[in-house]
């Protein structure tokens, strides 16, 4: 029986309770053509080192949990096949631009705060009034935002964005794309509330249209395009409020 081919994974390790510095640890894993990086990591956790800590759930590119840096690129590890790297070694690191909690697990706190700030849900003034039935929508109205609704909050775009790493005020690609998604939804009435947030400081203006967010998006959302469209709307609102300040007539 021929010997099983193997591959080397160099994995970022950091346990804050014992490690003063992060380090890399090499693991030999069986090479299987149909394995993805996540399979190899789960094999390590099950057979070699149970303390290896990483997030994952669906294994099919839907949950957005398993985003990591694979050879320096933000990737869903459930969609990064070993065969695309074989026979070379693969370096796995936590998503950059985020604080590391343990090994490959990063803190979601800042992202969640930014996401909540744009109210990524339908806002209605008449939320309790269902007497008119469901909110109807034409295919053309659906097409206005459908692409942006495909975001799975995997945060790869934040790891790819050079501004997200340096500007705390910047809401970032996914949050802005989702805010734009609801602003474009014909059933929504919360655009003014979202623009209150987007118009502040560098919240949206920090984007310098590098475009890497769109390049790395595993769901083919176009956050860079969404941000540029949202900027146009925010600029119109800025001049509108300059001429007639919000609440002045109330």
């Amino acid at each position: 029986m021929p010997a099983q081919d193997t591959m080397t994974l160099e994995i970022f390790r950091y346990h804050p309770e014992t490690d003063s510095e992060p380090r890399f640890q090499s693991f030999e894993v069986p090479y299987n053509e149909d394995w993805v990086v996540l399979d190899a990591m789960n094999w390590i956790k099950d057979h070699v080192d149970g303390s290896l800590t990483h997030r994952w759930s669906c294994r099919m590119g839907v949950c957005g949990s398993c985003g990591m840096m694979v050879n320096g690129e933000p990737k869903l590890t459930c969609a990064a096949f070993l065969k695309d790297y074989y026979p070379f070694s693969i370096k796995v690191e936590p998503l950059v631009n985020f604080a590391v909690e343990r090994d490959l697990v990063v803190s979601l706190d800042g992202f969640m705060e930014k996401l909540q700030a744009v109210k990524p849900y339908i806002v209605r003034d008449d939320v309790n009034d269902t007497s008119g039935g469901e909110y109807m929508q034409t295919p053309a109205q659906l097409a206005q935002y459908k692409q942006y609704s495909m975001c799975i909050n995997c945060m790869l775009c934040y790891a790819a964005c050079p501004v997200a790493g340096h500007e705390d005020e910047f809401l970032g690609p996914a949050a802005l794309a989702l805010g734009h998604r609801y602003n474009k939804d014909s059933r929504d009435q919360g655009q003014s509330e979202r623009l209150d947030v987007m118009l502040m400081g560098e919240a949206i203006w920090g984007c310098t249209f590098v475009g890497e967010c769109t390049e790395v998006c595993p769901k083919h959302v176009d956050p860079a395009g969404a941000i540029q469209q949202a900027k146009a709307g925010a600029a119109q609102e800025y001049f509108k409020r300059f001429v007639a300040p919000k609440g002045a007539g109330a």
Partner: protein
């Protein structure tokens, strides 16, 4: 272990709307000018007008220069060039911010937009004299 960036949340949350909306609007308008009209200007003044027979080319150039003395043309030229300069200034400012000068974003407005304003004033002065 903090890598900065996203995990910091919105710690530096600003209290007031940003004037960046104004600069972005000028940048955006300048981008349209720079993308649509500047290449056309370059083709017309740099290639089409000087092409062919020298005497004919000189006559064409003189006609074009005379047209630049007409006020609507002056305004178009000033608008195209001035907005393009502000587009350029905004892009340079944000490139410098990306290169590590984010802390000086306010200070960078002076050379970047000041330079665009100076260029616009100079062009206005030149056009005024035609």
């Amino acid at each position: 272990m903090s890598a900065g960036g996203v995990s910091g949340g919105r710690g530096g949350r600003p209290a007031r709307p940003s004037g960046e909306a104004f600069w972005w609007a000028v940048f955006s308008a300048g981008g349209v000018m720079a993308a649509l009209f500047v290449p056309a200007f370059v083709i017309v003044t740099g290639f089409l007008l000087p092409s062919g027979d020298a005497a004919v080319a000189a006559e064409r150039s003189a006609q074009f220069a005379a047209a630049a003395g007409w006020w609507p043309v002056k305004l178009v030229l000033l608008g195209v060039v001035s907005l393009s300069l502000f587009h350029c200034g905004h892009r340079i400012r944000h490139t410098l911010m990306d290169l590590g000068m984010r802390g000086a974003s306010g200070l960078l407005k002076l050379p970047c937009y000041g330079g665009a304003l100076a260029g616009s004033v100079w062009l206005g002065w030149v056009l005024w004299g035609i």
